[in-house]
Symmetry: C2
Subunit: 256 residues, 2 copies
């Protein structure tokens, strides 16, 4: 089928938060992102737009409601410089119904940069993480840039949004995740030796260093040792160090 | 003194590679980047442009050849949305004369993205790294974006550029760095257990996985374990995991 005028407008509108809010949809561009979407939420796909080239990059896959377009038409829709010739429009996934699982919850507090947010999502997914929670004031992880930076890894995680860090902490506690840690650039226990860091815990990145979570529990501070004495890493790098320390401990058979 | 017309043109020209090549200068914007520059290469500063606000953010520092401007004039020169009101124009540092030192050399091969390059520079600096080498085909680390992403950390490292990975390997070998590792997304020894990974070694990020370095030495492959089974991390995240594994081993007193 051809891409209708209405669909074309929708694809363009979805680059704005307003467009996503009105339609309840997001756009998911690139081979990897579309594959993640189809693997995890095929039922959410409204339609897929592809060129011959884009479709060829997904062998054996028949995307729903496929609209074939030529390269020139695709470039007009694409938000990237070198497009991969494929994008899908999907309903934004609802809050996951499945119970909270995994060793620890990664919580992003008021993380404003879509590139950082996307990178953390992708890294957490690569490390086998499951629960990625975030607070209001963070960038929309279903935005175009965050999905591209995350390469659609958001579709493979349980993404849960909370109004405040307090509410997040309460929910985590209710689910049995009772150890709270906040990554702090200045002080705290080393992420390489901190006991129980990944044992049914919540690790907050980007949070207020002196925050107390919900009156619910005081948070331990965890620091990434920096022998270079060069202040803080950016949020994505800090998250990466912590996430892969969990991988290392697990593979080494050390207590988590 | 006032900012001259010639200086104003130079500041603008330095956002392009051509402008940097012609003048041999780079521009260094933001409080942190300017501080790094002044700490390590004050003699390279040609002039500094600042607003009252920008200068106030560097207490106790008197930048060379200071040109005070108002906020509006600064915005016209700035390459950022929310400027910090300070930038310096400096000669691009020459190849460092000091001998090669540090536990390992981090080598970036044909790394094309300035954000990634800058992030790796900053992360390596934070971890106490010293030698950051790169090959032709990489983005210019003295470009505006790379300096901003790196927050000027390039001024605190020994940055050395090579025409090819072969030449890089030869030079490293001549300096006693004889163990070569290439970060590979698909196979290799785990970066968490690989012996000698940081023992007078060269670790290549972004290199051709099957490359042999200069006929000089075959490179070992090192992999970042990814339980999520989600292909590769981006170059900056991969570098971050490896860089901080070196910090962890050192702090734990494990063999490097």
């Amino acid at each position: 089928m051809e891409l209708s005028k209405r669909e074309r407008s929708l694809v363009k509108a979805l680059t704005t938060r307003n467009g996503r809010r009105r339609s309840g949809c997001c756009r998911c561009e690139g081979v990897r992102a579309v594959r993640e979407l189809l693997d995890h939420f095929p039922q959410l796909v409204q339609f897929t737009v592809a060129t011959e080239r884009g479709l060829a990059a997904l062998p054996g896959v028949v995307p729903q409601n496929l609209r074939m377009v030529d390269e020139k038409s695709f470039e007009e829709l694409s938000d990237t410089v070198n497009s991969q010739g494929i994008l899908a429009v999907a309903s934004i996934p609802p809050e996951p119904a499945e119970p909270v699982s995994g060793d620890f919850i990664l919580a992003l507090d008021q993380l404003g940069d879509p590139g950082n947010f996307g990178t953390i999502i992708r890294t957490f997914r690569a490390a086998g993480g499951k629960e990625l929670w975030y607070t209001k004031g963070s960038i929309d992880p279903w935005g175009d840039k965050a999905i591209r930076s995350g390469m659609g890894a958001q579709f493979g995680l349980n993404m849960r949004r909370f109004e405040t860090l307090d509410e997040l902490a309460k929910r985590a506690g209710d689910c049995g995740y009772c150890n709270f840690f906040i990554a702090d650039p200045h002080e705290g226990e080393s992420c390489f030796t901190c006991p129980g860091l990944f044992d049914h815990s919540v690790i907050v990145i980007g949070g207020e260093p002196n925050g107390v979570l919900g009156g619910y529990a005081p948070a331990g501070k965890v620091i990434i040792p920096m022998p270079g004495n060069y202040e803080s890493l950016n949020a994505a790098q800090a998250a990466t160090v912590i996430i892969f320390e969990s991988v290392r401990r697990k593979l080494a058979g050390e207590p988590c």
